[in-house]
Symmetry: C2
Subunit: 187 residues, 2 copies
């Protein structure tokens, strides 16, 4: 097995697709985002990295709130539409049925299985082209149909992934093993 | 459809599982990590968020280099083992066949389909329990068998995901649509 160098590239993992929501000019706007990760467990904190040209940024800075919505496969066309079209040119406020939570200014999407309502705690200007928005999750919303025994069931929410190099969306598969368990008897 | 609040939670998306590599005390060490994301496209930059108690941290700070290795399903037991056991107690230098690239101090894993060699550019102390290490990807390595028409084929690399709430690893599924294409005719 000989490794080949393929040039510096960071897109070679399955990227979870989310929709970042913010009120811009008083109207809900949603951006398709794959640069997204939790960064702390308790209290729950997450980060999204948005290109500095994004329309969404002004809304996040103004309200100091945003949302991260996890769409299911059924919303793939709408998500892709939100990725292709900027809020600068297209009014995206009517695409989804939206709702607000305790922060009052972070628009969330009713037909996304999971919506995370976030308070902005830091704006990190680390790299040249993107801004990293870091948020405390203040509340998370779902629907009863996605719970199994009171616990959110990722398989039921049917999220999807982004494979950048071949420009494809990819579904998730099935449970293949237990975490903090599969490696107990390793070696 | 009425949303239910389930408490602040940020683990409700499919998290890509990676192994973060660093030399600690001159020896390769690998940590299973799910708090990981690219944060910029060009030049490629990525970030990993590690708990402040991690053994790996000292190595990253000392060498200012680290690696992000994307394991395939076949390595699930070994990855889980690297998540359960700290390098403080267990020598993980012999688990994988390792190699080094141009930075010379970022250990990478030969039998991971994708290895990203990173130079530390920032250590962000944003939250209480975790440190976010931000790295420039200086080179990426793969094997010919994972390329299709010269492009890395995510399906062939067979990575897997972490579903935290039910403590399961999940495989990826299949291509379900074109990115920057599926939404062209939306509405």
């Amino acid at each position: 097995m000989g490794k080949v160098a393929v040039g510096a590239d960071n897109f070679l993992y399955p990227m979870p697709m989310v929709l970042v929501g913010a009120n811009v000019g008083g109207k809900p706007n949603f951006l398709a985002v794959a640069f997204f990760s939790a960064i702390q467990m308790k209290p729950p904190v997450l980060a999204v990295s948005l290109n500095k040209i994004r329309y969404t940024n002004d809304g996040i800075k103004e309200n100091k709130t945003f949302s991260v919505n996890i769409p299911s496969v059924e919303l793939m066309e709408a998500v892709d539409y939100c990725g292709i079209n900027s809020g600068k040119k297209v009014d995206k406020s009517g695409i989804f049925e939206t709702f607000y939570g305790k922060l009052e200014t972070a628009p969330m999407i009713k037909n996304c299985p999971v919506c995370m309502e976030c308070r902005l705690i830091e704006t990190a200007d680390i790299v040249t082209d993107n801004i990293v928005f870091v948020g405390d999750v203040v509340e998370t919303y779902t629907d009863d149909q996605y719970l199994t025994g009171g616990v959110l069931d990722l398989i039921k929410t049917n999220p999807f992934l982004f494979s950048v190099r071949d420009k494809k969306y990819i579904s998730i598969g099935e449970r293949i093993g237990g975490a903090w368990e599969a490696g107990k008897n390793y070696k």
